[in-house]
């Protein structure tokens, strides 16, 4: 790690431990999203980590976004989710695809933390099958008239800006999708929050509805019909943050398990002395080391400006499964206490609940598996895009 990456890690770790961690268990119980978190993130500069300074960000390299994601999810996934949708899916998508004028107008305030952003792809009837989108935008003079609804949208009820994908040609499947910049203030926009999720309960997840919204034509991101490619490349950045966050969850699970395995005694010795407990910890470490290297590989490729869809997807697939298994094994090591959470309990059941959904969103386990199988067989090849994520240029 470079000195600035080390300082970043120390800073975010201390910030998260002091300013955020103490409230998480009770927020999780209450299913409450604390809006002041966004202000704190903005103040620390976390909402523009890898966005160049000329667009209001800090200009750090792409690995730094992974470091931030990891350190935040070490505390709770709900914190990392903010980075995934605001920084990864939306802002890095604008960095890659938006025009210079659009970047100055929308990316800059996002990176400065003045506007909170998220991403609207998934719908009630279209998740992995993106081509099945039903939200549509019809050309009408200087506008596109947007109608439809989105579901499972992180920050749906708190974000200001939305990168929305809609069909502009219902006859064309994935080639008929176009991306639009939509704002909460637009007439016809409404949103709501989904409650009673298994995990990420202190995060805001919701739905939004577009009722005849007049979206100006200049709000189109990329070209007409380019939305599917844009959405997939946004996922290259979103998945990167999900992978790095999962690594943080796995490390938190390991650290909690090691601490407990030192404290708890059975059969006259601390349980860490038992080989079957050691096996669980060894497996966690194997997964953590593997996931970390895959994430850094993907981050290095982003820094160098090399296409990384395959590598990022692999990192996401491996890391989210490592997190899930590590949290599960951490519960096992905690025994009965492992399922007792809340403000007075142990954190591992929360890690386990948080880890589960990450194997569904931003490409389910099955999508990841199919992708890797297709890459291996040569059925899937990544063609150059009209616009690539810019390589990192040190300032």
């Amino acid at each position: 790690m470079s000195d600035d990456q080390k300082i970043l890690r120390e800073s975010v770790r201390d910030f998260a431990a002091s300013e955020l961690a103490p409230n998480i268990p009770s927020l999780d119980v209450k299913q409450e999203f604390d809006k002041s978190t966004l202000t704190k993130f903005a103040d620390q500069g976390l909402l523009g980590v890898s966005i160049p300074e000329k667009y209001g960000g800090s200009g750090m390299d792409y690995i730094s976004t992974a470091i931030v994601s990891e350190e935040l999810e070490y505390v709770d996934a709900a914190l990392r989710v903010i980075i995934s949708v605001h920084n990864g899916l939306n802002s890095m998508g604008l960095l890659q695809w938006a025009s210079e004028e659009q970047k100055q107008k929308w990316l800059k305030p996002q990176a400065e933390g003045k506007r909170i952003a998220t991403f609207g792809l998934t719908e009630p009837n279209a998740g992995s099958d993106v081509a099945a989108l039903e939200t549509h935008a019809k050309e009408d003079g200087d506008f596109y008239i947007l109608n439809g609804s989105k579901m499972w949208i992180s920050l749906a009820d708190v974000a200001d800006n939305f990168l929305v994908f809609a069909k502009t040609d219902m006859s064309k499947g994935s080639r008929g999708i176009t991306a639009f910049h939509v704002e909460r203030e637009m007439k016809g926009f409404s949103s709501g929050t989904i409650h009673d999720k298994l995990g990420v309960r202190s995060g805001n997840t919701g739905h939004m509805t577009f009722d005849n919204i007049e979206v100006p034509k200049e709000n189109m991101i990329g070209e007409l019909g380019e939305g599917f490619k844009i959405a997939m490349s946004c996922l290259d950045n979103g998945r990167f943050t999900v992978a790095a966050g999962a690594l943080g969850c796995a490390k938190a699970s390991r650290d909690a398990a090691v601490k407990y395995a030192h404290e708890r005694k059975t059969f006259g010795k601390e349980i860490g002395q038992h080989q079957l407990v050691q096996r669980l910890l060894a497996n966690m470490q194997q997964g953590i080391d593997t996931a970390e290297l895959l994430i850094w590989k993907a981050g290095w490729m982003k820094n160098m400006g090399i296409r990384n869809t395959r590598e990022t997807a692999m990192a996401k697939w491996v890391a989210t499964n490592v997190a899930s298994q590590s949290a599960d094994d951490a519960i096992q090591i905690h025994g009965g206490m492992g399922i007792a959470g809340g403000p007075d309990g142990y954190p591992v059941e929360r890690f386990w609940r948080n880890a589960r959904a990450a194997r569904i969103y931003e490409g389910s386990d099955q999508i990841q598996e199919i992708m890797q199988g297709q890459y291996a067989m040569g059925y899937r090849q990544d063609k150059p895009l009209r616009k690539e994520l810019p390589k990192w240029v040190p300032s």
Binding site: D4, I7, F15, Q44, G45, E53, S58, M60
Partner: protein, 254 residues
């Protein structure tokens, strides 16, 4: 207002260190994370707060041996304007008086109004440099301060002494040593981390002073582990009887 902050880089207090093979000191290996000494970090924060209130500049001064730049850059990301680093392993491992004299050589020409450092460094725990520097420079020192007010005229500082708070006033220049409670050091913000890379850091091999090592550390060892205590059970009468017997005959305390 010109403030100099003395910044020593020490192993993270959570480091699980090993003793070197010669048994003379802790082993320097890659597992050690180096950080701004926690008490020095209170000094860094105080210096930045003074600058924010009254204007001026903050300069950090460090004696190091190769592990310091990251921590100096962190201080710069917090708000320190520039740094001076004397990179000299012989000096760093010399006796505290030689280090104080080297710091005097570097600090005196800066004509600072306030020089602030931690009350001690968590690795050596000497509590020496601040007061020694004051003696060498012949200026006042207020040590172990837990609150501080600075005006254009001077400083008012308090120290938490046993069962009381002591309040001191001094004109400039003055040396202050920081105790816990003085402030809560800030977390560097991301844009500041990037800006810190461009702040001036003057690296030198020597302060030009004599390096003497009058005291040599000859041994380092972990404290002996305590043997497990004995748990006694029984009725209150039996407990008292067994306890008194143990203290008189076995432990020979009574």
């Amino acid at each position: 207002m010109k403030v100099v902050t003395l910044l020593k880089v020490t192993p993270d207090t959570e480091t699980k260190f090993q003793i070197n093979s010669a048994g003379t000191d802790i082993a320097e290996d890659s597992s050690i994370e180096y950080i701004i000494g926690p008490y020095d970090e209170y000094g860094v924060e105080a210096a930045i707060q003074i600058k924010e209130k009254l204007g001026g500049e903050v300069i950090s001064v460090t004696i190091g041996s190769g592990n310091e730049e990251k921590s100096i850059r962190k201080a710069m990301a917090m708000g320190v304007d520039s740094g001076i680093l004397i990179n000299n392993a012989d000096l760093k491992s010399s006796d505290p008086l030689s280090i104080a004299k080297a710091i005097k050589e570097v600090v005196e020409p800066l004509n600072a109004d306030i020089i602030i450092c931690g009350k001690l460094a968590t690795d050596t725990s000497d509590s020496f440099i601040g007061p020694a520097l004051a003696a060498l420079m012949n200026i006042p020192v207020i040590s172990e301060i837990s609150s501080l007010e600075v005006t254009e005229e001077g400083v008012v500082a308090t120290r938490d002494a046993a069962g009381r708070k002591e309040r001191f006033e001094s004109k400039f220049p003055v040396i202050l040593t920081a105790d816990k409670g003085l402030n809560e050091p800030r977390y560097p913000k991301l844009p500041m981390i990037m800006k810190a890379k461009k702040k001036p850091l003057d690296k030198k091999d020597t302060a030009g002073t004599e390096i003497r090592k009058n005291v040599t550390q000859v041994k380092a060892e972990f404290p002996a582990t305590k043997s497990a205590g004995k748990k006694i059970t029984g009725t209150p009468d039996e407990l008292v009887s067994e306890l008194v017997t143990g203290l008189t005959t076995k432990e020979k305390i009574l």
